[in-house]
């Protein structure tokens, strides 16, 4: 009987060793340890043995049974580990060096530059306003102290419509509406007017690489008691330094614009050479950037604000020009061309 146990053990171990898969191992388990398994079956042939022998034999069979169960568990773990390894080894090595697919949407470069500017002004408490593209003669000229005979009102510069309205030739056309919208808060509650208003502008001119009939500007105004030229210089320097992310120098030169007095042309230190002089600033060290000035008393008056009590400054940034400077766009017409070869490059920059 004891031989039988030994024999069965050897047979079991040999079979188990030969098993390759979990399935085979399971079959072996059923064959030896199942209800009708060979090891279980050993106990059935015990009835002829003496009690002593039964005890001894039973003990041996149980040892074998435990050992077999143990071996099967080990075998299963071994197979599982092998399978995992095989699975890992089956993973091919990918070629990460292939070019990535960068296909995605894009913003118009004006949107990008506009957002960068808006962020700077918003951070300094300016509200961002929007305005219509078709305005009245009053909004575009009269309210801005541009008298009837001023050259800026010549037919050749401005697109007029059949009903006497016009396509706004500058974002300043929104000034009057902004003053009217916020004057009550200014006068009654002392809330300063701080607003920027980007927008599309139109000039009736032939287009070429440097001229477009449709372009973007961004106007800004600040009105309160005692706003001064000194404040104007401070704000322009601070805000433009933020916009260009450089510590810029600014300088003002007298410039004539009917809606400001005094009016200025603002230059910034050249972005390329920093003021040393280089070809891009024509060796002057300065770049003419934007007109600005103290809001003309008549313009404040037209907006319902008493110029004796309040003063303010206004400035106009050429967003189209900024975008061209920033991205090195050489032909202004590219911006309205609708060509995706050009435009799809401006994925994000914000």
């Amino acid at each position: 009987m004891n031989n039988k146990v030994t024999q069965l053990r050897e047979e079991f171990l040999a079979k188990l060793a030969a098993a390759q898969t979990a399935q085979e191992t399971e079959e072996i388990r059923v064959e030896y340890l199942g209800k009708n398994g060979s090891i279980t079956g050993l106990l059935k042939g015990m009835k002829d043995l003496s009690i002593e022998e039964k005890k001894d034999f039973g003990q041996k069979v149980n040892i074998l049974k435990n050992e077999a169960a143990q071996k099967i568990t080990e075998k299963l773990e071994e197979i599982k580990a092998k399978e995992l390894e095989a699975e890992i080894n089956a993973m091919p090595e990918f070629d990460i060096s292939t070019p990535a697919d960068l296909e995605r949407g894009s913003y118009h470069p004006i949107t990008l530059v506009q957002r960068q500017c808006e962020d700077v002004f918003k951070s300094m408490g300016f509200i961002v306003e929007d305005y219509s593209e078709i305005v009245t003669d009053y909004e575009c000229f009269e309210a801005l102290n541009i008298p009837k005979h001023h050259p800026a009102r010549d037919m050749q510069d401005t697109y007029y419509l059949e009903n006497g309205q016009l396509l706004k030739s500058h974002t300043s056309a929104a000034q009057n509406a902004i003053y009217r919208k916020y004057k009550d808060a200014l006068i009654n509650d002392g809330v300063p007017i701080k607003a920027i208003f980007p927008g599309r502008c139109f000039r009736n001119e032939a287009t070429d690489a440097c001229h477009e009939n449709t372009f973007f500007q961004m106007e800004g105004v600040m009105v309160d008691k005692d706003i001064s030229i000194s404040n104007l210089i401070y704000f322009m320097k601070t805000m433009l330094s933020e916009v260009f992310q450089k510590d810029l120098s600014v300088r003002l030169r007298p410039g004539f614009f009917p809606f400001v007095e005094p009016g200025f042309e603002l230059d910034i230190s050249c972005l390329i050479c920093g003021g040393e002089g280089c070809p891009s600033c024509k060796h002057s060290g300065w770049l003419e950037l934007c007109p600005c000035g103290m809001i003309h008393p008549e313009v404040l008056k037209a907006g319902g604000i008493d110029p004796e009590e309040y003063t303010g400054f206004a400035f106009g940034l050429g967003l189209t020009r900024l975008a061209m400077m920033k991205y090195g766009v050489k032909d202004i017409r590219d911006l309205n061309s609708g060509s995706l070869k050009t435009m799809a490059q401006f994925t994000d920059d914000h």
């Binding site: 509200i127 309160d224 995706l340």
Partner: protein
């Protein structure tokens, strides 16, 4: 406008000062100076006065002469010269060996077998005129060998001021006005103009002159005769040339010189042609020949200078050919006048002819300048030509005088406006230097604006601030932030929404933002067979192709799609732009802000692309307004709309826009096979919709039950409505699981998810709801598929 530092130094003493720095200061304080500064004469060195002692023909050249030239060194130079005007005894400008002209250093040079030890120079070679007819013929009496630069003012610094920056400064259109600015900038006195005293001629007869039109503000004239000289002095010609004008003859040069010096345009008539000077307009359009020989059409708004009823000049623009000074002119009538600036500008535009004179008149010239200009003219003329006789009294009609402007302000006003401290003395000194009469008492200033600033430029207190601060120098400002109180800034709703729409479309749906024009492009539309919709037009478009304002961005975008067909097999574009929807009741344009999206795809079915666009809009609506869109079938009315599948888009019952498929005729012109779908919605109306809060539902802890049912139906809508009608709180979602077509028609399989937060639902109670829906649909003729 070009300016000469030599000329300016006639009126301001620049000694000891860096002129380039001054020019830069001028640019920062007065008007923009162009970058390039011209150092006249700097490339000329060693040129001297010399006399031609001998002239011999060159044996082998008809053109060349062999000269012996005396440059005062006692030794005659052999010179080979090609100028036709050489003669013995002639004095000329001579460049001896070692002299420099431009890049060239004069060295012995063989010319057709003879050596030339130097060069006789023309005016052009010295850079002082365009004259290259012959070598200079110098009559001034100087010892031989005198450097040419000691005889003539060849060395000069010329700078150019941008005319545009002088638009509002009528006083800066001549050297004298510019000199006043320099004087104020450096704190040195402005020297007075040297003029004759015209009162000396008061006893002479007056000129027959009358202003008959209010467009002439002042007309001053004087007659002179016995002019014998015809050529202006070299130094005057050099100044004119350096400042961009050609010397013509003494009288023309003098009027030009006066204009460049004082900014006052002047004109000289042959007195025989202006016996009865009348300044007026004609009732009818007429043709008039100006002195450049051009016939110009003058209409009834053009102010004319006339001899009785015969026009002799277009006022302020150009004289006539018939009244020009000619060979046998003995007496001339000198005009110095001011005219209505707007009228001159308009006439200039009508005639399409802008002159140096009209350019100045457009700026509102100082009428106080007409008489001093004549006095100065007579001074210069008599200095040059001693025999000249004034034969009339000054005849002057001053029809319209600008009101004298008095402005009062106090130091506090200046401090407030500037934000810095500027001393009372500085204010007074600055304004006085600029010609203002200033009375100070304590902190109060009373100021009289000088006539040269009073025509339109300085009219109010804020203008005074500019005068004070620009001379003070903006670079000298102490800059500081404002003391304005802080308040929260609430972002403008519509602007914020626009930004979010852009982000969503770019980031989530990979669309490309494009810009376009607000008008319809006839040519491009035509190419695609899109009709331009009738709408308000531009009245003055220079390009007739862009006359009509668009009513929709969709056609624009279809044109853009066409441009980009080769870009990729599939892409989508969008724009937030404006359209005009005709006129409103008040007569103003109904301008609308629209979002337009167009998708182009060569790889997908039009149906798939259509649903893709539908989903983009739905997600946008749900993200930004947490509200669903609804659709209503619409009739196609535009050439680019496919008659099928055109839908109006609604939110909360408000019509936001439309969505559809590109008409096959148009689509085929874009691409033979691609699917093209578009949508356009009104951004402002979208922004006006209330942003509903997110409808949060607590997830149930009890098991959910999914029921699939298939109906034979063309559309989902009735199924959705029937489910909604069941009004069952357990229904958490309804999805279209599948759609397919077979012999029984189109089938739609829906999957309804049931759950309850309080308990586990039983199959029976759920099926009761489903059965109700099935019965409801069956009654409508929509059977369940078994």
């Amino acid at each position: 406008m070009f300016l000469s530092m030599n000329w300016l130094s006639d009126y301001v003493d620049f000694s000891g000062l860096d002129k380039l720095k001054l020019i830069n200061q001028f640019s920062l304080s007065t008007a923009e100076v162009e970058n390039e500064i011209f150092f006249k004469g700097s490339d000329i060195e060693g040129i001297v006065l010399a006399e031609i002692k001998e002239v011999a023909e060159h044996p082998e050249s008809k053109k060349l002469h062999l000269l012996k030239v005396d440059m005062g060194s006692g030794e005659l130079q052999d010179v080979v010269c090609g100028a036709p005007n050489v003669r013995v005894g002639m004095k000329t400008a001579f460049a001896p060996l070692g002299a420099k002209i431009g890049e060239i250093t004069i060295a012995p040079r063989a010319l057709a077998g003879y050596t030339s030890n130097g060069m006789c120079c023309s005016e052009r070679e010295l850079g002082i005129s365009e004259d290259h007819e012959g070598i200079m013929d110098i009559t001034e009496d100087y010892p031989l060998g005198t450097p040419i630069k000691e005889i003539y003012d060849i060395d000069d610094i010329i700078f150019e001021v941008d005319n545009k920056s002088l638009t509002n400064r009528p006083d800066l259109w001549g050297h004298y006005g510019i000199a006043r600015e320099f004087a104020a900038l450096i704190g040195r006195p402005l020297k007075p103009l040297d003029c004759v005293d015209l009162a000396a001629y008061d006893h002479l007869p007056k000129v027959d002159m009358k202003i008959e039109d209010p467009l002439c503000q002042r007309y001053s004239c004087l007659q002179v005769e016995n002019i014998t000289k015809t050529v202006s002095p070299m130094n005057m010609r050099i100044r004119l040339y350096y400042c961009g004008m050609r010397a013509i003859n003494l009288l023309a040069d003098l009027t030009n010189y006066l204009m460049l010096e004082m900014g006052q345009p002047m004109h000289a008539f042959d007195s025989r042609k202006v016996e009865k000077l009348r300044i007026k307009r004609f009732d009818k359009p007429h043709t008039f020949r100006t002195l450049d020989g051009v016939d110009r059409n003058c209409d009834e708004n053009t102010l004319m200078i006339c001899n009785g009823d015969t026009p002799v000049a277009i006022a302020g623009i150009m004289g006539g050919l018939d009244s020009e000074i000619v060979e046998d002119t003995t007496r001339l009538t000198l005009e110095s006048a001011t005219f209505d600036a707007v009228s001159i500008r308009k006439s200039t535009v009508r005639l399409g002819h802008r002159t140096d004179a009209s350019m100045r008149y457009e700026k509102c010239l100082d009428p106080e300048m007409t008489v001093p200009a004549i006095a100065r003219f007579v001074r210069l003329l008599t200095e040059i030509d001693g025999g000249v006789k004034v034969v009339s009294a000054l005849t002057d009609e001053y029809a319209y005088q600008y009101p004298v402007r008095q402005l009062s302000f106090d130091k506090n006003f200046v401090d407030r406006y500037t934000g810095i401290e500027i001393a009372n003395e500085t204010i007074e000194k600055t304004l006085t230097a600029l010609g203002f009469k200033v009375t100070v008492s304590g902190d109060n200033f009373d100021v009289t604006v000088p006539s040269h600033r009073a025509t339109k430029d300085v009219t109010m207190k804020a203008d005074i601030i500019e005068e004070i601060t620009r001379i003070y120098g903006y670079d000298n400002f102490d800059v500081h932030t404002a003391n304005a109180p802080l308040y929260p800034v609430r972002a403008a709703e519509e602007k914020t929404l626009e930004d979010k729409i852009k982000d969503l479309l770019v980031k989530r749906f990979s669309l490309h933002e494009l810009h376009s024009y607000v008008w319809a492009y006839y040519d491009e539309y035509k190419e695609l067979g899109i009709e331009v919709e009738e709408n308000i037009k531009l009245v003055n478009a220079t390009n007739p192709n862009i006359e009509t304002i668009r009513r929709s961005i969709i056609p624009t975008q279809l044109c853009q799609i066409k441009t980009n067909v080769g870009y990729a097999p599939s892409f989508g574009v969008f724009e937030i732009g404006r359209v005009v929807n005709g006129l409103k009741e008040d007569g103003y344009c109904d301008e609308r802000k629209k979002l337009c999206i167009t998708l182009f795809d060569k790889t997908k079915s039009v149906e798939a692309l259509y649903y893709e666009l539908r989903d983009i809009l739905a997600i946008m609506a749900d993200d930004l307004r947490h509200t669903a869109l609804t659709y209503k079938t619409a009739q196609a009315t535009k050439s680019y709309q496919h008659p099928r599948n055109l839908n109006e888009i609604y939110m909360n019952g408000v019509l936001l826009g439309e969505m559809g498929i590109c008409h096959p005729t148009v689509a085929k012109k874009i691409d033979k096979k691609a699917a093209i779908v578009f949508a356009e919605i009104d951004v402002s109306l979208f922004a006006e919709q209330e942003n509903a809060s997110i409808a949060y539902q607590e997830p149930s802890k009890y098991p959910e039950m999914e029921i699939d049912v298939t109906f034979i139906s063309q559309k989902f809508a009735p199924i959705g409505e029937a489910i909604a009608k069941a009004n069952c709180p357990w229904i958490k979602s309804v999805k279209v699981y599948d759609t397919y077509q077979d012999e029984s028609g189109k089938s739609i399989t829906i999957r309804i998810l049931f759950s309850d937060n309080e308990r586990t639902l039983t199959k029976d109670e759920v099926m009761a709801v489903v059965d109700q829906v099935i019965a409801d649909l069956d009654a409508q003729g929509i059977p369940m598929k078994k």
